[in-house]
Symmetry: C2
Subunit: 532 residues, 2 copies
């Protein structure tokens, strides 16, 4: 049966899965039809081979010249761009995401840009924070883990969060760790094509070919075994909370670092002044954000808090009209439709009233109608857990509140989220309410947003695509934004009384590359002056 | 029974334990006799009250002016120094550590110095890395967790790692989080005295009195329940591996950050040139480091790797003589003696030969003889787990190796450790061996040391008192050294399109305090220029 399946990128070359546990195909989400070739479901042999090969090259990669790492990241970025026609066509077919606007216009440039930002951080040593204490004879920096990083890519960004090309990938490689990519099985041909480009760029850069490997699928039991293998250094995971928490438990027990983006409802508070000022426009903005990419975003506005007032009623009526007037939207998979319907049922069981949608709707393929629900603040506060169920898709819950105090109470009921938003009036009349709600919301989110929907996530040094548990596993780290995202895959290395010649280049007295270093408490690009 | 026990520092005041589960006394380690008053073993009520009180003040503390936090840390440092006579007397009585040299001469100044370094970092905002991306409209910094931090202090540093005064305490407070200190029950009177000073300094600084609380003891089941409480933000733990891993599992499951210093054998490699150059002196240095503080250091050199050669034999003979000639040493507790004897038995069972010591020895109180064991590299490589058993006390294992290649093999068998040391010849003749061993050892330790015993741990920005699992829970963080140690107790906060007036002061355009900030990729103390 092997011959009929696509190869995996294993131990430095494209080869047949060693002992596949079956195969799978992608589907066209718009029709549900099977498309493309058969991809292998890997068994234990592939996993063991991948782990062994990654461990074998870990030290070589850790010692690789930074220019070679940066050259790989740059070359890979260029290769992705040069292959845009093919990649966009494959990804569009497998995900039904809009080709020109989303995939080509936004996601592919984001992906290549992110790889280039990682390359820049590598060349500047910006993520290593070299720190020198001349009096104590101590020098420290962030360094490779020296172990493989396992990356699980999500279903919703075939390029920008792909396990073989996204921020986790770029960050782990920038930190000079080998990557074992677990592609998402809903876009295997896209991932295969990207991995081919990555593999070629790796060889051209003169890096060990086993530094980047990719498997398409393996069962949960094997995934848990892999996650709990002490040979792994870290895991980057983007996906569902249930799957993520199971992997986290396995990783934690083995001392494997676990960075995850688990799920988030991204509360949006519409303050009264903003509502009065531009309620109708906000209803449109809310609908657009909630349904963009069929709502399949980690930063989708899943809960919107709006006053119980005539203006609030008008806002909800306008939003309801938008949701009710839209056709069912294509999701990535039948599983996604089922899961979304379950989410809506959970919300309704907990007391949410259906305002619009709530059905899979007509049409071929995997579809669900844009859905709006509503609940009173009192009910929300009575069932905060159930009413924070993430419904991954074009679904949002409106929470109706009376006054600032109740907004604060609702804010305090939220679990950890990636984002929290407040819409303020331009005239400053909401600022008192902002100041009351902000500290409560601030402590519960990674990114606090003013008067803007949360769906855009710029790749920036000041970004935080992260947040308190359970939205991620560690509130101190972001998965997007260079150089901070690289820190996740690094170990702190201190050198005590080690002579200059035996130090890593970036910690030596001479600093010909003019790296920014913290020397005796001051950031400087200068050499360390040697006192004779 | 309540009236007969010392009060706990709970919910902002000294009060009787709410429902104590019994009491305990300290012992004089030199005699084994009970000393001092009876301290309470806290029950579930104390823990719940402490957690509730800490949560109640978390937001206030997070919003506290940095000057107030810094003032507290400075005032507490001064109070500790002013109270040196009493503190040193109490600690000496409870731990038998040398009063003048260790406690007064080293540990107390280290403790107050560390608190002052934390205060300095707070004033400079040095730990928050304010990052501004003007083009993206994003601003980010590290901020308080907004939740309590639970600190477990160890037995071996009554001042410098005390749960109420050490680096975990200083770091958590510097990050503006409330602390629940779990004092070590082997020095309760010392901890009580320190907590009194902390409490007073806190009130004088105008901070919420419940920001610092202290319990003396609770049973393991309650400890696990507390560690797994989602209301906690993080745990700082220094102690045994078994206890630490149990707490880690509970914390991980609840998304509570767990920073630990679990145990470490701190391998020391004596390279042939260094051995030839100064073997006899090194034997003395080794013995001194291994027995300092009766060997009760996390960075005690527990395994020493030395060539099998005439010079190596002479080194081992000299070391054996030092160990054999020394009287049994006082440990902190009878439990410590028992545990140490078990550790020695484990090492012997795994094939280590006893060269000196190996008995509890004569004398009152809690004593164990300085103990040296030896094993061949082949045996070490055959039983690497058992032969890395930490024997907490004046015990070390010598591993005899043939040549550099075997040194590399031995290095590669080590688990994660806090430190790794190589002794090199002054003439550079060992540098080739260093370069062969260093990458392997480097990946397994937090601090790589040249020609110096690992027992000294300077409080420095370039320090790493940390290392790969299982020596700690995360290799990216250090528990000693400001400002890095503070990062452990911080959440990343990003602000997206938030107007200047609603930003935290350190992220605003104007920067009157001249904080070092990363603005558009450059470190600067300047204001952000507003483009009109």
């Amino acid at each position: 049966m092997n011959a009929s399946k696509q190869p995996v990128l294993l131990a430095g070359r494209w080869q047949q899965s060693l002992s596949p546990q079956g195969g799978f195909h992608a589907n066209d989400p718009t029709t549900g039809e099977v498309i493309g070739p058969c991809f292998p479901i890997s068994g234990a042999d592939d996993i063991e081979a991948a782990l062994a090969a990654a461990c074998e090259v870990a030290a070589t990669l850790a010692a690789a010249p930074v220019e070679r790492i940066a050259a790989f990241l740059d070359a890979y970025a260029a290769a992705l761009e040069a292959d845009a026609d093919t990649l966009v066509a494959l990804a569009h077919q497998e995900t039904a995401l809009p080709g020109p606007t989303r995939l080509r216009g936004n996601e592919l440039p984001r992906t290549s840009g992110q790889l280039r930002q990682a390359a820049k951080a590598v060349r500047e040593h910006a993520w290593t924070t070299p720190t020198i204490d001349t009096a104590a004879g101590l020098r420290a920096h962030l360094a490779p883990l020296g172990k493989p990083v396992l990356v699980f890519g999500p279903n919703n960004f075939p390029f920008a969060f792909n396990a073989i090309a996204g921020s986790d990938f770029a960050s782990a490689i920038a930190a000079r760790n080998p990557v074992i990519a677990k592609a998402h099985p809903l876009h295997p041909a896209t991932s295969e094509r990207m991995a081919q480009l990555a593999h070629r760029a790796l060889e051209e850069a003169g890096l060990p070919p086993a530094a980047v490997q990719m498997l398409y699928q393996f069962d949960n039991a094997l995934g848990l075994k892999l996650a709990g293998d002490t040979r792994l250094g870290a895991i980057g995971f983007t996906g569902s909370r249930a799957g993520g928490l199971a992997l986290k438990a396995a990783a934690d027990a083995a001392g494997v670092l676990f960075y995850a983006e688990l799920s988030s409802v991204n509360p949006v508070f519409v303050l009264p002044g903003a509502l009065a000022e531009r309620g109708q426009a906000l209803a449109q903005e809310f609908f657009a954000s909630c349904t963009m990419g069929s709502g399949q975003f980690c930063t989708n506005p899943g809960v919107l808090v709006v006053p119980r007032s005539p203006a609030g009623d008008a806002f909800v009526a306008a939003a309801t009209e938008h949701f009710a007037g839209a056709a069912p939207m294509v999701l990535f998979s039948q599983g996604g439709v089922t899961h979304l319907a379950q989410g809506v049922a959970t919300l309704r069981d907990a007391g949410a009233a259906l305002l619009a949608g709530g059905t899979a709707g007509e049409g071929a393929g995997f579809r669900y109608a844009p859905t709006l629900l509503s609940v009173d603040a009192g009910d929300f506060l009575a069932h905060p857990q159930a009413l924070q169920t993430e419904a991954f898709g074009p679904v949002s819950l409106v929470v109706r509140v009376d006054g600032t105090e109740q907004m604060v109470a609702v804010a305090s009921a939220f679990q950890g989220n990636l984002t929290g938003t407040m819409y303020r009036a331009a005239d400053g009349s909401d600022d008192e309410a902002w100041r009351a709600i902000a500290p409560v919301l601030r402590a519960r989110v990674g990114r606090l947003i003013n008067s803007k929907m949360p769906t855009g996530v710029a790749v920036s040094a000041a970004q935080n695509h992260g947040g308190p548990f359970p939205s991620t596993g560690h509130p101190g780290f972001t998965s997007v934004g260079m150089p901070a995202a690289i820190h996740r895959f690094a170990a702190l290395h201190s050198y005590d009384a080690v002579p200059d010649v035996l130090l890593p280049v970036e910690l030596r007295d001479a600093n010909p590359a003019r790296i920014q270093r913290l020397v005796d408490g001051q950031w400087t690009c200068a050499d360390v002056e040697v006192v004779a």
